[in-house]
């Protein structure tokens, strides 16, 4: 009985949601509010106004940069939440042999990872710095960076990974995303411009654009490094064996 009732209520909710989705303006049409209201300005003037050839980067780092600052803080917050619940990694708590030695037997896997890891990191740096012109950017680069560290830890041993990526160094880099945003956003306040304005008045146009490019790059790098460190720190902290 309870199940039937649940099913019935869920079915009603499903109907409601479907009716709402069906009533949506058609996707891709040229006359919907979405395509006529805000977006045309982004597409037409984004490259000039916001200073990145990739319109997505324009929107996430310039027009709606504050939201991205919040999102980056959410990622940082996720790490702190993990640390609050399970705590930092502790090599002494590691008793499980499997985790400690990694895949000892397979020479092939080890050599391939040893060979590939630097290239994966290089690719992450490329994605990070190219976010301004082409698809990519700090978030994607962070994920790749984190993945390379995870792959390294899983093939070689946990302890080797801990001896390479020190806790203190990681602590310094974890907040890089919000800090990079803050550092670049605050520059405008010294010139009495609004927070996150990258254009500084009073300079010649060439320096202005160069400064703006530099600040967007710094933020991309900050998000990339911060994101990558957060992912690897979460991974290393969760490796802890149950007490």
């Amino acid at each position: 009985m309870k199940r039937i009732l649940t099913f019935f209520i869920l079915f009603l909710l499903w109907l409601l949601m479907v009716s709402a989705v069906l009533a949506l303006p058609p996707i891709g049409s040229e006359t919907t509010p979405v395509t006529t209201h805000v977006i045309p300005r982004y597409l037409e003037q984004g490259v000039e106004e916001a200073g990145a050839e990739n319109i997505v980067t324009c929107v996430i780092l310039n027009y709606r940069g504050y939201d991205t600052m919040g999102e980056v803080t959410v990622i940082f917050c996720a790490l702190i939440a993990v640390l609050a619940v399970v705590g930092r990694e502790d090599p002494k708590l590691h008793t499980s042999k499997v985790d400690l030695v990694g895949i000892k037997e397979s020479v092939i896997v080890k050599s391939v990872v040893r060979f590939l890891a630097p290239f994966i990191m290089l690719f992450a740096v490329y994605i990070m710095l190219h976010g301004k012109e082409s698809p990519g950017g700090g978030f994607q680069a962070g994920a790749i960076l984190g993945a390379s560290i995870i792959i390294y830890t899983m093939t070689f041993s946990y302890e080797l990974a801990l001896s390479k990526f020190f806790v203190k160094v990681r602590t310094l880099m974890e907040g890089a995303g919000p800090i990079a945003f803050f550092a670049c956003g605050v520059v405008a306040l010294f010139y009495n411009q609004n927070f996150l304005t990258y254009i500084i008045p009073g300079l010649d146009p060439v320096t202005q654009t160069a400064m703006r490019s530099l600040m967007i790059e710094i933020i991309e790098v900050g998000i990339g490094i911060g994101g990558g460190t957060v992912i690897s720190s979460i991974f290393l902290a969760m490796e802890k064996v149950e007490k």
């Binding site: 709402a20 989705v21 805000v38 959410v74 619940v85 609004n194 927070f195």
Partner: protein, 506 residues
């Protein structure tokens, strides 16, 4: 200098918490205990900026701040209006609770976790301020995520099994409500093409109400009522607020659940507007009925509890009911006649924040000193810790609404609102709820003052000064505001706030 800071204050009071939180782990590399002082400095600066903004709001009306210099609807707008001024109370209570938490948390968690605790508190407060003062609906969601994540993990920070369970329950309900909020925001964006609240409001007038706009408002309201802990979806609250460390309970119960209320007010009164295309009268009616259930059941369940803090948590559910009742009693056709109901809801948001922080902090001081939390074990504690227990009594009297305390005025206005709209049933329900609340607080007062101690050891004495002073300040403000300052507060702040939300002339 002051004008410069004032013009940037809406963003400064917000980003200082985000940047401060990101820097806390780095600062505490030097020494773990520095985290507290750092967090205190950040909180004080945030409060200072908020004071500047509040003074400006008083002098010349709401402040708008365009991030990156992009005008809405292209960029994000921060709006420090009368509803946004709730940030003032958040930041003030945050400082008081933070001073209290120094000793308490050193006792509760290991030293390694102190920096993490303060980072999370800064994120929580930053998130709350962000949601309160934003003028952009997606930005609101982003900060809602920050505050929710920080809230879930602050409950589980003590590493006890029950806490992990409570936190997980909160996480599941919270994730569901976040999902609903996101769906609602996506629908609104699809219908209007905009994310700025003022702009959405205009566009909704222009395009009229579609099915999607109706479902969007339903999704958003349900999402926010989960965050605010309305009756059927309150199940996460008692465990989460009862088991969390006391300063965290004070933050969560005093402030975080009010963010759900702020969200509802924003959606109904500043985005859709009651004079707008959607007829809100049915929705508000439903809200009033659910609020009745929340008032009665919140008080009812508290009867069967033995744990001091869980009783307080249930009382939060009951009191959220009063706030929702104030909102539900607003009549769409006659906004001018509903000022009392709205005034009651807003006043109770502020009053309950102060009172519930006071109650949780004084309960926390008792737990800190004795390690006991069951009512039966705490018999006669009032003789050992007279100041803390007197503060607890003042809080209990305020929350039941005894005349002369802040709690009285809030309930007075809500009940007047019920009379104004001619719906006597709700007034009676609220009086019954108040009596039930009174009954179990009498039980608490009876146990702590008029019973002979059984389990208490002789060396239990008053809590340390850094915990006692915040409690005394909060207790004093309950009385001082209730007796002397309530009229200036209402004419200068709450009345304009209620009128601006209802769309009336000041």
């Amino acid at each position: 200098m002051t004008t410069y800071l004032t013009s940037h204050s809406p963003v400064l009071m917000e980003i200082i918490f985000l940047a401060g939180a990101a820097l806390t782990p780095i600062i505490s590399l030097i020494r773990k205990k520095l985290a507290f002082w750092w967090a205190l400095i950040v909180s004080t600066l945030g409060f200072y900026f908020c004071m500047l903004a509040a003074a400006e709001l008083y002098r010349s009306g709401p402040l708008s701040y365009y991030l990156g210099g992009w005008r809405p609807p292209y960029g994000i707008e921060i709006k420090f209006d009368y509803l946004g001024a709730f940030a003032f109370l958040i930041l003030l209570l945050n400082i008081i609770i933070m001073v209290y938490s120094k000793k308490y948390m050193e006792h509760e968690i290991s030293e390694d976790k102190l920096p993490i605790y303060y980072t999370l508190v800064l994120l929580l407060v930053g998130g709350m301020v962000g949601v309160t003062i934003t003028g952009d609906i997606f930005n609101m969601f982003v900060f809602m995520e920050i505050l929710s994540l920080a809230g879930y993990s602050l409950i589980a920070i003590t590493e006890e099994r029950l806490n992990a369970m409570a936190s997980f329950k909160y996480l599941v309900m919270g994730a569901l409500s976040s999902l609903l909020l996101l769906v609602g925001i996506a629908f609104i964006y699809n219908v209007t093409g905009s994310l700025n609240m003022a702009d959405i409001s205009l566009k909704l007038q222009q395009y009229g109400a579609s099915t999607t706009a109706y479902v969007a408002v339903a999704a958003l309201i349900i999402g926010f009522t989960v965050k605010a802990a309305m009756f059927p979806v309150h199940i996460w609250l008692p465990d989460a607020h009862g088991l969390a460390p006391s300063p965290v309970s004070a933050l969560l119960s005093g402030l975080v659940i009010k963010i759900g209320i702020v969200g509802i007010l924003r959606i109904v009164f500043s985005i859709y507007r009651i004079a707008g295309p959607i007829n809100f009268s049915y929705l508000l009616d439903v809200l009033a009925w659910f609020a009745t259930a929340t008032v009665i059941f919140g008080a009812f369940f508290a009867f069967f509890q033995d744990d001091l803090k869980i009783i307080l948590a249930y009382s939060s559910v009951s009191n959220i009911g009063y706030i929702l009742m104030g909102i539900g009693l607003i009549s769409v056709s006659n906004p001018a006649g509903s000022v009392n109901a709205m005034l009651g809801a807003l006043t109770h948001v502020a009053a309950h924040a102060i009172i519930k922080s006071l109650l949780f902090l004084s309960a926390g001081a008792i737990i800190y000193k004795t390690g006991l939390r069951k009512l039966n074990d705490l018999k006669g504690i009032g003789k050992k810790m007279p100041i803390t227990c007197m503060a607890l009594v003042i809080g209990a009297l305020s929350i039941t609404g005894v005349p002369g305390t802040v709690g009285f005025w809030a309930k007075w206005y809500v009940i007047n609102g019920a009379f104004d709209s001619g719906r006597l049933f709700f007034a009676i329900a609220m009086l019954v709820g108040a009596l039930m609340v009174f009954a179990y607080y009498i039980k608490i007062i009876n146990v702590i003052f008029f019973r002979i101690p059984e389990n208490l050891t002789a060396e239990v004495d008053e809590a340390p000064l850094s915990m006692l002073i915040p409690i005394v300040i909060l207790a004093a403000s309950c009385l001082v505001y209730g007796l002397f300052y309530i009229n200036p507060m209402i004419t200068n702040y709450f009345m304009p706030a209620a009128k601006s939300l209802l769309g009336l002339a000041m």
